[in-house]
């Protein structure tokens, strides 16, 4: 098991180095000079003279050769410092530590919501196959899979503002500082993201549950007189879970991408919102650190998903 874990971690290193190199180069290759817009935000763009640009470039360390800049960045990542934002001069580490928990909350809540809705709906749909309930569920699943989560978010905001004269708080507090404000802020994006993911989970649950329902051991369980609910929960549910977990793991990647748009739609100050802001500002140091962070999260989630297989299904335990 330990060997497997080490092997997976070793494989992750070149993956992350590749991501870091790609994003570092991409930021320097795509058009748009970060210094072009560095002054006068909120007052219209003020353009720097060539001399001022050179001065700013020098103070940001952008006049050094690319390999030096890259290695310098990797060094700071290894030390856990991450460097400073071009724009705000604020340590990126602090921003990540402040905004990370909010995004994590949204992601965890979204997964929880997706499971709470998706698994029962999928199971019910499978058990009542081709009934009106199944048909209705399939229409709903197709609908929520088709529409992007940020659009659901925008509709949610529109309805709450228009009908209830309420909108989520403008300022985010951490869960441990002010749970009420925090939950009011993160619940909206979590629901918007969770509904889309729930549709994926429901579809996968239905599909695998139908396969399991056709298995011999289910027929045997029924033949020996077990109640329908007991068969569903003890045999169908557990055996249908494995592909659902895999799907959830893969969907986490989409969820990470989804937080970027959904956080922006809700104005939640999470990592996704920070990334959009950094992209608009061409804040290179911020972008490259956040993309690398997303890559690390993706790798870790995939590893956890793989490890969870053994816990759920003893047949595929390693070593």
């Amino acid at each position: 098991m330990l060997q497997y874990l080490l092997r997976r971690l070793l494989i992750a290193v070149p993956t992350l180095l590749g991501v870091s190199l790609l994003i570092f180069l991409a930021m320097r290759v795509i058009p748009g000079d970060p210094l072009a817009m560095i002054s006068g935000e909120g007052q219209g763009t003020r353009v720097l003279s060539e001399e001022e640009r050179e001065s700013a470039r020098q103070s940001l360390g952008l006049d050094r050769p690319l390999p030096v800049q890259y290695l310098d960045w990797l060094g700071s990542v290894a030390r856990g410092e991450l460097g400073y934002s071009f724009w705000t001069k604020e340590p990126i580490r602090e921003q990540v530590l402040r905004r990370g928990p909010i995004s994590a909350e949204i992601a965890i809540l979204a997964v929880a919501i997706s499971w709470l809705i998706g698994v029962p709906v999928g199971l019910l749909s499978a058990v009542r196959r081709n009934s009106w309930l199944d048909n209705l569920t399939r229409v709903g699943v197709t609908f929520f899979m088709a529409i992007p989560s940020f659009w659901i978010g925008l509709v949610m905001i529109l309805v709450t503002v228009r009908v209830f004269y309420w909108r989520p708080p403008l300022v985010a507090d951490q869960l441990w500082e002010n749970p009420s404000t925090n939950l009011q802020m993160v619940l909206g994006p979590a629901v918007a993201l969770g509904l889309g993911l729930a549709a994926v989970i429901a579809r996968m649950t239905r599909s695998t549950a139908l396969d399991v329902l056709a298995e011999d051991y289910v027929r045997t369980a029924r033949a020996k007189g077990l109640a329908g609910r007991a068969v569903t929960l003890q045999h169908v549910f557990r055996n249908a879970l494995l592909p659902v977990i895999t799907t959830s793991g893969v969907a986490m990647g989409g969820l990470l991408g989804g937080t970027v748009a959904t956080e922006t739609a809700f104005g939640v100050p999470g990592l996704g919102n920070l990334l959009v802001q950094a992209l608009n500002r061409r804040d290179w140091t911020m972008i490259q650190n956040l993309v690398l962070l997303y890559a690390v999260i993706f790798v870790v989630i995939n590893l956890l998903v793989d490890l969870s297989y053994g816990w759920i299904d003893p047949r595929i335990r390693v070593g």
Partner: protein
């Protein structure tokens, strides 16, 4: 009327009439608020004596003569936190190096300021109790308020003013002086004694007092400038202002408690400010409608319209110092021919463009002088001019003739219109302009959408033929606009426009302090720009501030230009 106006002006200059009396008398003569403001500003520029007596109720209760402001209501409510919803990110904490003025200004003062009680139309004392202008209009002398301290307790003196403005005028190596163009004629700033400073000019500058009164005028402590090698981008230094720095979270919020030892004992009325970062205009509007914020300087049109139905919300439209325009690269064919530029200027229907864009922003039918300026031509007069009038038949006929004379009798193809990847630009304004040019003159312009950062880069490097842009400037006076965008050597003259006649007239306007004569010069300038246009100007916009009706003391309804920032006189009447 002109002789009556001159008499009032003389009275004010010679101290026979106070500003307040002048305003009353001018109003009785039927002068507009804008004209009165000009009269007072011109008199101020000529050194009309200012009151140096402490504020008294005799001043009318608002203390505008002395700068010790108070609201006219007898018992304004004290306490509470004023929450604003707006874009409050900043690239630096140094306002003179690109820091966001409407955020940072709360912690600082300038020498003079715009009067919040008359909609920012007159200039009143701030850290300077009074000022005089020499007869040759080359020396401005400011007498500084005594007993003022920075937030850390350091006394404020003339040395701080000299250090602040000397850095603006002659920035040391590594320091960016973003506001330098506003002080283009200032040769040096000197301390006469601890309480007196002079600004010595190389030549008269008509808009100097307006520049000095704008909210970006933060006087920094000399001590902090010296301690930080003149570069304050990464450090919030103490100011003398009504609020002190509390907390800043990038793209989240600023918290600024009130300054308990503020030099004006009356202000501020609120206990503090919470400036909440809300990037989207519609979100700012919903924040006001749902009571999550008290004030926003600019909201979206649909939320603004919705505000009309709420008794708890107040709102107004304010002329802005930003515009929609297409910059033409005069170094490239066919825009190097003034006849082509003139033809395009004549052919577009501004009324139709304004109508098409109304769901996004309100644009005024305006000429080259912003409608936020007191010297702008009234819209009804503009509507009768060639190029601006609603009936396009004659203009389009002239435009076609001009194109034919320029060698393009069948129109022009192969042009490119660059636009930012902002939906209103890319999806409404750029296609609307493209369509109008095609319909009227058979000019084919392909739209190329690019990100804002890329657009700025292409603009600055001159890599464009036509570019849709939204230039914004901090003060509405045309001298500021002309010297930044149109003068042949202007810093942001991206289209490389060069017209010696324009340069000459602009120089004359820069130096002309008489507002009536200045208005005449500005009309000549506008005529030149209409004949030889550097831009395809669509028009100057309006901002849509909206606030809770409980927010009092700012008199936002009276504002004639969208200069946002100081809220020291605000109180919450809940």
């Amino acid at each position: 009327m002109a002789s009556d106006t001159s008499r009032l002006f003389d009275d004010l200059l010679k101290g026979r009439r106070s500003r307040r009396d002048l305003v009353k008398a001018a109003a009785a003569l039927g002068l507009s608020a804008a004209a009165i403001a000009d009269l007072v500003a011109a008199a101020d520029a000529r050194g009309a004596p200012s009151s140096q007596t402490p504020a008294t109720q005799a001043e009318g209760g608002t203390g505008v003569e002395s700068g010790i402001l108070r609201v006219p209501e007898p018992n304004p409510t004290r306490g509470g936190t004023l929450r604003t919803a707006f874009g409050v990110t900043t690239t630096s904490y140094d306002i003179w190096q690109g820091g966001t003025p409407h955020v940072l200004t709360h912690m600082y003062n300038g020498l003079i300021r715009q009067n919040p009680f008359d909609g920012l139309q007159t200039i009143i004392p701030d850290l300077a109790e009074s000022w005089e202008v020499s007869g040759d209009v080359l020396t401005y002398t400011f007498r500084l308020r005594q007993g003022v301290t920075f937030h850390d307790g350091t006394p404020f003196t003339a040395a701080d003013v000299v250090a602040t403005y000397s850095r603006v005028i002659s920035p040391p190596s590594g320091v960016i002086s973003v506001m330098k163009p506003f002080f283009r004629s200032v040769d040096r700033v000197e301390a006469i004694d601890e309480a007196t400073v002079t600004f010595v000019l190389r030549e008269p500058q008509a808009d100097l007092l307006q520049a000095l009164a704008a909210p970006f005028n933060c006087v920094y402590p000399k001590q902090a400038l010296d301690a930080n090698n003149q570069d304050l981008r990464t450090v919030v230094v103490p100011g003398t202002g009504p609020f002190v720095f509390g907390e800043y979270r990038d793209a989240e919020r600023w918290v600024m408690p009130k300054n308990p030892t503020y030099w004006n004992p009356e202000l501020p009325y609120v206990d503090g400010l919470e400036l909440i970062h809300v990037a989207a205009w519609s979100d700012r509007g919903t924040a006001i409608l749902t009571g999550q914020a008290d004030l926003s300087w600019n909201v979206s049109r649909e939320t603004f319209d919705q505000g009309e139905r709420s008794a708890d919300v107040a709102r107004t439209e304010v002329p802005s110092v930003g515009c929609y325009t297409v910059i033409m690269n005069t170094q490239r064919e066919p825009f190097n021919d003034p006849r082509v530029r003139r033809a395009m200027h004549l052919a577009i229907s501004r009324q139709n463009l304004i109508q098409a864009f109304r769901t996004q922003e309100t644009i005024a039918l305006s000429r080259w002088v912003s409608h936020a300026s007191a010297l702008a031509m009234p819209a009804e007069q503009i509507a009768a001019l060639a190029g601006y009038r609603e009936d396009k038949s004659e203009d389009i006929a002239t435009a076609k003739q001009l194109l034919a004379e320029a060698g393009h009798p069948d129109g022009i193809s192969g042009l490119e219109l660059l636009a930012a990847s902002v939906p209103p630009h890319a999806e409404i304004m750029a296609p609307a302009i493209q369509d109008q040019l095609k319909q009227a003159l058979n000019i084919d312009a392909q739209i190329r959408i690019t990100e804002r950062a890329q657009l700025v880069e292409e603009e600055t490097s001159g890599n464009f033929g036509l570019v849709l842009d939204t230039p914004t400037i901090s003060i509405a006076d045309f001298s500021a606009v002309g010297n930044l965008y149109f003068r042949s050597d202007a810093a942001q003259n991206f289209g490389k426009y060069a017209n010696p006649q324009f340069d000459e007239l602009l120089h004359a306007a820069d130096q002309e302090l008489d507002q009536e004569r200045r208005a005449v010069i500005l009309r000549q300038i506008e005529d030149v720009l209409d004949q030889d246009p550097p831009w395809l100007l669509v028009g100057w916009t309006f901002h849509l501030p909206m606030w809770q009706a409980a927010v009092k003391g700012l008199n936002l309804e009276a504002r004639t230009e969208s200069v946002w920032g100081r809220v020291d006189t605000a109180y919450l009447d809940r």
